[in-house]
Subunit: 241 residues, 6 copies
């Protein structure tokens, strides 16, 4: 093989992954997550209210996510979505992905009639922003829930499990875990996987735009995902100790 | 097992699937696809122009999709997106999914500096609208490309392969191929798969919002997808004979 | 005279006009209307609610319409209004015209505090879309009202009368009933007329952008409208027998 | 009869009608028109440019109109359209009506490749704002064209004729010329007529929302319109003398 | 010095300033203010309602302003904000400035739970539109409050004081009071001052985009502002006598 | 006096002020500025292009700013502007203020035909965000210009001077430098001052919404501003040593 990864990473090696809790002091959970040069601020804030479509289920809560890139997160400055007047389709697709993933962590009936908003703002982008958003938001979720427990808003923990997310690519015949931006541009097929700490899958999204995936590819990529995610969940757990 | 499917379908049985070509006379390809009670009009129209980001690649074309539900496609009338002032996040996520899938069919360099727009308008919705959109758009793509070939706009076919898409769900311990709306609401996990006629995967999207997926689930669902998609591609081929 | 109409129609001859009821199964009334190559899907759906400005009149209902062209309804693909972010002025003008016309059919006090939405989506456009929308929506209105009567939501029919609409043009010295798109482009003056089955006028809109209308023109065009609309109302009535 | 008009006007009597030219000093034509208590500022401004769809016709110009009500033009303050984020359907329908009417005055080929914008801003509304906008814009059009002639931008007058507009209503069995707001609210049927100084019709829009119109009604209303418009055109002509 | 002002005004001379009350008959206060060739229509209308954030303070009212320029207010026609789909940043900045200024006139607790809207629409622009808006709105405020007092909606006057506003510029070493548009374009620094009749300052906004301001400049400009505003407040008072 | 400032600051004492350069690695200048608990990320990015209105001045550049608060920057989560569909008036007013201030630092003719965008994103808000944005953007401006000089895009420094900004309030009879959020809510009058390192004023904005300002107030507040800004400029200079 002859694909050299940045910083000589091996194919199944995660980038440096760092989780900084309590990055800001306003939100109930505030986590700055760094996956290599990708930095995402994941804030969890609690609103004592639920959307209309949840309201008819008594005592049931809701979990939702919004995702945005700061204009200077990328080498070429992107337009500010608020100035343009709407979110891009990409942002909407990603925030729906994050929202579904984080929601799967929760027993919404134990959350009570409140909403936890997860705001994922990409400070610096170098590939894997949606996965970093999920891995960081999971930690912010624990902090927000601990706030609710400590203040007796709820008395039973509504979180079922840790989750984390990672990307896997295939470039030629070679698989790559946790791609940076350059690797992502050069790879043929691309998979994002969200798993919990029991090894169960929350989301699998595989895309073969330049080249298609065989069943063997899918299997090998899922193997690699399992390996990476189990490391990420360990990092999550360490940051609470 | 005790889940009774509508019309007593067996778990691996597709709904009645019908493809009507030349449904309208304006677009280069115009297909009405019926998957049970889901009706989608898939129109392929050709514009002699490409978006800015494609222009720097000489002679390269582009393929893109838009998706929308008519307000009365569902039992409860939904708001018209143009009156509301923007597309929903759901519509945007789906049209990006369709666009990536159809784009994978093409060698864009053989298409020349033109764009094929795929407009997928859901006339009636009963589950599986995104998959029906892809399966129908594939046929519309062939008709649009034949128009280009017949009129000597291009002289080499840019389409690499047939593709089709299908949903698979899991309700309790039971797998279900090609769910209708009611089955979709009641299932725990949900997968959409797009494959080509060689058995290669274009897109796999698995979501476990209510319950998570084991590795075995994924394997069983992919098996079922392969079976369904191969039938759909046969139906596509028949409609050209 | 030397203006040859498509398919050798005579000046006072309607295009082939077809009304397909129950085209979809979700709306209370669902009609596909075909006027030559113009196809419009007219769906009537019932919402148990009225707009604020109607609410102060106890037991009074409301009737409203929305109109849109699918992007591929025309030879040159038009922008999707939801992507552009708003309806065009043309769409708004037409849907207000349809709304006023259909509303005139109803005794709103007999409808009860509910709204009937008429969604007119143009599948294929070849001139006369607003008139076809009205003629088709009238049939959908009957089906929606029968649904309300059959289910005892109301016990007295709030519909006063059939209505239908037709366009009349003048090209040189020649009058033309029910113009297709090409005829419309080439005519000098243009009139849209909505009438009921008693020969009373609901709307008359005459426009002389390229050339003005004399009083005699108006009279001759109204004569022709009366003739065409009476035929259309017969076709409407037949589709219920 | 027993309908008493405000200020004891007879059924065929216009309100006090006043045309003030050169109301502002920036636009090429600037007219404040007062029809009773309806005040509309009609500004004609010249832009040395035409829209894309006109450009292919060499040397051809364009004429377009925009209409808006100031928020305090009505007793109940209306929302400012720019704050709401879009024009109402009513504004769009009216400005298209004004635009078509004023455009009919012009031989666009004599105008040269430039656009005249007519901005009709309603300062105070008491019924008949669209008709006053047209009658006032006609005078502004003459001033704008004189500016073009005086400065040798064009050397042949592109205006074919004066036009003016008036509303006619029917309340019970009684016809009413030039209705104010209260009369408009109480009338059953409503007609807006635009005519030129030769007695030719530019636009006729008759609406029978509360009650329908017989052929006799239409004839009687058109008679009344002819009478009123001929008076308005005299007032227009006087303001140039 | 060698800067010649239009019409040979001296550096500390106001333009002709005229206040026309009751310009329209719908709003509670309606003032057309003319500062030289700048014309602004300032309408005060009363709504028996307050925004949400005011509601929790019992019996407290609110005062707010909106500002807009008619498209033809300037030599080069500007886009209509409602057609463009949003207000410009400039309009928003100015209307917030006007709103804060007029609000400072009021004891909001004496106003009761109602809102006074000030709509400032620039009919013709020749510099100083925001200042003319404030000076005119002050008079409209008195008329609106007198309406409330005369009709016993309130029994104590909530207005504390007259206010007026003026611009001061510096071009080279020379100060200029009440600049017109041409002077404004040519000046280096620019100050807008709002004061009350007691000589207290409501708003001071000084901007040195082309050249910065010394502390002496600020002092000299404030001196000039005091002089001009005291004259404007006299003109305001005269129009009530 | 009896107003106790947080952390026992004296009335003329700045909060802890920290400037972190190179906070992200994508923008030409990237500064995280901390003023007490207010954190703003100020990114300067260079685009080789200028807006239309600058283009006619050959070789002239442009400087512009955008300002936004992350939804969780405040205790109560605010709506994301891109989801709402437009920037608030407050954001627009502030970004225009920042833009004018930073622009005053530059000789735009020396910048060449390029634009520097300053993106000020508030990570955490505790009062004084617009002032922190300016003080931080000044440092980012130096870094961006050094990038241009080091890479020979320009060969003469277009920056004229350091600038910094500070707020001053008055609560009762007491002046307060650099207010935090709580102090800002409780103060009667409020001033924002931008100055350069020569003691010249770039912007002065004083607002007396709850209580007005005397000439003496203005003088005392400007004195205090001079003192604070000179300290801030020292901190700016230190971060380059």
């Amino acid at each position: 093989m002859n694909f050299n990864r940045t910083l000589n990473r091996s194919f199944n090696q995660l980038r440096n992954f760092e989780i900084i809790r309590n990055f800001t002091n306003q939100a109930a959970g505030s986590v700055l997550v760094k996956a290599g040069n990708t930095y995402v601020l994941c804030n969890a804030s609690i609103v004592e209210n639920v959307p209309d479509f949840v309201r008819k289920q008594v005592h049931c809560g809701w979990v939702t996510a919004e995702y945005s890139m700061l204009p200077c997160a990328t080498k070429i400055r992107s337009n500010r979505e608020s100035v343009f007047g709407k979110q891009t389709g990409r942002s909407q697709e990603i925030q729906r992905f994050i929202g579904r993933s984080i929601r799967s962590m929760f027993d919404l009936k134990l959350l009570g009639a409140r909403t936890i908003h997860f705001d994922c703002d990409v400070i610096q982008a170098d590939g894997g922003t949606r996965c970093a958003s999920i891995t960081g938001s999971c930690v912010a979720a624990f902090d927000a829930v601990n706030y609710l427990l400590d203040n007796n808003f709820i008395n039973k923990n509504p979180i079922c499990n840790h989750i984390a997310a990672i990307s896997i690519g295939k470039s030629g015949s070679e698989l790559l875990l946790d791609m940076d931006y350059l690797e992502d541009c050069n790879c043929d097929v691309d998979m994002n996987v969200v798993m919990d700490s029991q090894g169960k899958f929350v989301e699998v999204q595989a895309t073969g735009e330049k080249s298609l995936l065989s069943r063997n590819d899918i299997n090998a990529m899922l193997d690699l995902a399992e390996e990476g995610i189990s490391k990420l969940i360990n990092i999550q757990k360490e940051c609470f100790s």
